[in-house]
């Protein structure tokens, strides 16, 4: 029997991490396939012809694209274990709002933080700091974004934690010093098996980005 669930991803992608964490939370057996983004597989191009991006989730041969949509799908297709979204409609709306906020506000700045220099990088840093301030405030004294339970918003943002060291190093600022609540939230999330298994080593991310900046941008 062919694997029912296949995930096409990339080790450092915080988007792919979301979907993997969701699958791990639900205890779903899946096959993970690492994509070489400089040489995308024919399966990836066939299953995500519009965006040609990872992650792509395949369930019984049918593709689902976009990580937040995938996480919600996983929650609905495997409803019996570890609910990712709350059952109350308003709480669900809040979870969707914040995961959408994270997507809209971090995508551009986070990419520019590691791939740019000078003014563009500075502007990206300021934008990302604003996001961190908002999230620090939204977190408050809660254990997780949704309250006491690990859920969608935590899954949406935790992957970025593996990139914090990289952002701090290349853009010269401290997240650890300025955002203690976000940091202790991240460490709390890392205690979960799903997160610990999926998140890559921060050092590995930093090394990879440093290489990129050395070769492409000429920065040592």
């Amino acid at each position: 029997m062919v694997e029912e669930v296949i995930l096409l991803g990339y080790w450092a992608s915080m988007f792919g991490m979301r979907t993997r964490i969701a699958l791990e939370e639900k205890g779903v057996k899946y096959e993970y396939r690492e994509e070489d983004l400089s040489n995308k597989s024919s399966l990836l191009l066939e299953m995500n012809p519009i965006h040609k991006k990872i992650p792509v989730l395949l369930h019984k041969g049918k593709p689902i694209c976009e990580s937040i949509i995938q996480v919600q799908y996983i929650d609905e297709a495997w409803p019996d274990k570890n609910p990712i979204l709350p059952s109350d409609p308003y709480q669900r709306a809040q979870a969707r709002f914040w995961s959408d906020y994270i997507d809209k506000k971090t995508y551009g700045p986070c990419k520019a933080l590691w791939s740019e220099t000078g003014e563009k990088q500075e502007a990206a840093k300021l934008e990302f700091v604003e996001v961190l301030k908002t999230l620090e405030s939204e977190l408050g004294d809660k254990s997780f974004f949704g309250g006491n339970e690990f859920g969608l918003v935590d899954i949406a943002f935790i992957g970025y934690y593996s990139w914090f060291c990289t952002y701090e190093k290349v853009a010269n600022f401290s997240i650890v010093a300025e955002f203690p609540k976000v940091i202790s939230w991240a460490k709390r999330c890392l205690k979960r098996e799903s997160v610990a298994k999926v998140l890559p080593d921060s050092d590995k991310v930093l090394k990879s980005i440093s290489e990129y900046r050395k070769i492409i941008l000429g920065i040592h």
Partner: protein
């Protein structure tokens, strides 16, 4: 044959259930306000959803680009319409609001029930707002020499929707659904008016027979017609917006 006592208990349980349902309904429908803007497809689609559910609401018009203190207070993060206020709950972002409406008023569900179909509806809705809108509007308006290329690129994206609606009355099947509200508010009754004032026939009958059929079907739906901005006034306003974007 049940005893009088059993009958009494059953009756009490039924009365209690009806009282709770009635109370729930009254509580749900208690206070519903929508902050919107007449030309915003994002607020128009929320109106479609509320009318689809038959839920009464109070509409408050924002005179954009001026933003009222109320809007800034209710949506400090994005400072945008639509904002839905339901009793003490404040919601923003149209897709979030639509899903909230569908769950809160469970009659006539407009999102598919099957998880895969639901995921597809969400994917295409995101595609309309995050791919078709930026390319089919901002990029197009700003493209001076490259406009033909921009038009073709937009048509390529729209072709995906043509395939999605083929063989169906609506994206939602036999009746309108979530994707019809999202795509309907955005494409035929918003972007098409921008294209018209730029002299562009984007969704040609020849290339997009299914989408044209869908647009005609949408026009037959009363709640959709009630939620479309009046054409002439809309095109006039679109003209102003297009000119303003071109001059920046």
């Amino acid at each position: 044959m049940i005893s009088l006592y059993d009958f009494y208990i059953l009756n009490e349980k039924l009365k209690n259930k009806l009282r709770t349902e009635e109370f729930d309904k009254r509580k749900r429908d208690e206070c519903l306000k929508l902050l919107g803007f007449w030309i915003s497809p994002f607020s128009r689609r929320v109106e479609m959803a509320l009318k689809f559910k038959g839920v009464p609401y109070e509409y408050l018009e924002e005179d954009l680009p001026k933003k009222t203190p109320l809007l800034l207070e209710l949506n400090p993060i994005h400072k945008k319409v639509p904002v839905l206020v339901h009793n003490d709950k404040i919601l923003s972002e149209s897709h979030v609001i639509l899903e909230y409406i569908d769950l809160t008023w469970s009659n006539n569900p407009f999102l598919p029930q099957d998880p895969y179909e639901k995921a597809m509806a969400r994917f295409w809705a995101k595609f309309v707002d995050e791919q078709i809108l930026p390319l089919g509007f901002m990029s197009l308006v700003k493209a001076e020499t490259g406009i033909e290329v921009a038009i073709e690129e937009t048509r390529e994206l729209i072709t995906y929707l043509e395939k999605e609606v083929t063989g169906k009355y609506y994206f939602g099947g036999k009746t309108i659904g979530f994707l019809d509200m999202v795509a309907g508010s955005m494409i035929p009754f918003c972007l098409a008016r921008a294209w018209e004032c730029m002299g562009i026939d984007m969704i040609t009958h020849e290339k997009f027979p299914e989408l044209n059929r869908w647009i005609n079907k949408l026009n037959e739906v009363e709640i959709v017609r009630e939620c479309i901005p009046p054409k002439e006034k809309h095109i006039e306003r679109m003209n102003q917006i297009v000119e303003r974007i071109k001059s920046t």
